[in-house]
């Protein structure tokens, strides 16, 4: 049932570790980090630091530019902190330093072209005040990226029906349809709906773990972050 057995995702911890040891980040590693962290960083600066959208935009761009240009990651020690905690600490330090200087950093290159600040701004309007915006947004971004990965993967291997059923059920904004309704709607037996959902959820988990491995320093941090990501 549910397709071939898949082992655990191939980890990409080495990107973070090598980035830490080299002090600067490889482009590939930075793309992964920015993809996961730009939105948590932006919302964290907007809500926790109470900055205007323009200020927050500049600060976050400046922060990720500094990640490339400065030796910020040289201080990351996987035995002392998780990468997420370290990055948040660096961001807070960066914002404080900007306050002291009271001027803006020059913007960096295209590494942060993937940041859609306007979309993030629209989301903030509907975001209730939460204690740890950074953590919550990190969880949200991890799953949002994994969903994108899953959708793309399903299209690539021709399992769009599976994704459609998964999206209709697990991403339903209002009342979830019953399995029978979904089966009738897509013209498949109810057992297939169950199987498709189980498959898609397994794949989603795999995608999340793959993303997680690219922004953690090793197995032990990855397992600890899994608890935060999936834990209640």
């Amino acid at each position: 049932m549910g397709g071939p057995h898949r082992p655990f995702p191939t980890t990409r911890h080495s990107l973070i570790v090598s980035a830490a040891s080299a002090g600067t980040m490889a482009r590939e590693a930075l793309d992964d980090v920015v993809a996961v962290y730009w939105k948590p960083a932006y919302k964290h600066v907007r809500i926790q630091w109470r900055r205007s959208n323009e200020e927050a935009k500049d600060l976050v761009q400046g922060f990720f530019t500094a990640l490339i240009e400065q030796q910020i990651l040289a201080g990351f020690d996987p035995s002392k902190a998780r990468f997420r905690t370290y990055l948040k600490g660096c961001l807070d330090h960066f914002v404080m330093k900007q306050d002291e200087r009271a001027n803006r950093l020059k913007r960096g290159g295209g590494a942060i072209a993937i940041c859609d600040f306007e979309a993030a701004e629209r989301e903030i309007a509907g975001t209730p005040s939460v204690e740890d915006v950074f953590l919550r947004e990190w969880q949200r971004q991890m799953f949002a990226l994994a969903l994108e990965d899953l959708r793309a993967y399903c299209e690539t291997i021709g399992k769009t029906l599976q994704y459609a059923i998964f999206a209709a059920y697990d991403l339903a904004e209002a009342e979830r349809p019953s399995y029978a309704e979904l089966a009738a709607q897509h013209g498949v037996p109810v057992t297939n709906v169950t199987n498709y959902l189980a498959w898609a959820r397994r794949e989603l988990r795999r995608m999340v773990l793959l993303r997680l491995s690219s922004v953690t320093s090793g197995d032990s941090e990855c397992m600890a972050e899994q608890r935060v990501l999936f834990g209640k």
């Binding site: 049932m1 549910g2 057995h5 898949r6 082992p7 655990f8 035995s79 859609d116 979309a119 629209r122 989301e123 969880q139 949200r140 799953f143 949002a144 990226l145 969903l147 994108e148 697990d170 991403l171 339903a172 904004e173 169950t194 189980a198 959820r201 397994r202 989603l204 988990r205 795999r206 999340v208 197995d219 032990s220 397992m223 600890a224 899994q226 608890r227 990501l229 999936f230 834990g231 209640k232």
Partner: protein, 294 residues
Amino acid sequence: MSYLPDRALDHLRDVAEAPDFSATRYRVEEEIGRGGMGTVYRAWDTQLERRVALKVLNAADRVNQEAILLAQLEHPGIAPIYDAGTLPDGRAYCAMRLIQGRRLDEFLRDEPALPARLRLFQKICEAVAFAHNRGVIHCDLKPQNIMVGEFGEVFVVDWGVARTEDSAPALSAGTPPYMAPEQSGAGAQTVDTRADIFALGQILRELMPDPPPRPLAAIARKASAADPRDRFSSAQQLAADVGRFLDGLPVSSYRDTMPERLARFCRQNQVLLLLLGAYLAVKLSLYFLAPALK
């Protein structure tokens, strides 16, 4: 990329984490614990019609190791393993006996008497000693990993980071303050059964009253000495020393002072001393009252 509302996010977190046991004989009932290595569920074994504890591990290779180690350890103080396997998503699981009882730290909140606590501790030592005799080191002994059953039976659980003496060391396995100094960092190469003795010493500290009796404090101090060479060489020795304390005998880890030795002798020979005292009193009274008795 569309925005993921809170409701959808929470639902996805749940469904991505929930293990898929549909192809197995188990039906998950509820989550009963979550630890460093994975999650434990209470489940119903549809084939044998009994409740079991299902442990789903985050890392695929560790569960097999835990299952294999547990299968070697058939002891009344160690929860037996029934079954092991792999879920479709690659996560490994094992089915174990579902322990009906409380964790040691919860059990201690009822403040049972010291002898009862120490007898419980001896049972823990016996289970650990059995594992050590089979060459298995628990590596994460702590009150949260010890269950006390309804009838005072003790189970050492969560062998997730356990290893055999000859296997490669798991770096930084364990939980402070129960983690021996050699378990963290580079010293992990030298971890042996004495790492568990250290944890047992720390557990013993939690069982002691405040202030603790000096011999008992000395036992705990010796068990959790920073240098493994200064600790008890086996869990049996530790249990035996605690047993001697319980019997009011001198313990190997503590040298009594003369008044303490005297007090112990008097405690142990109360009746004899009382009778000898009575005999002397009778004789002296008769001697001094002799003229009056004539």
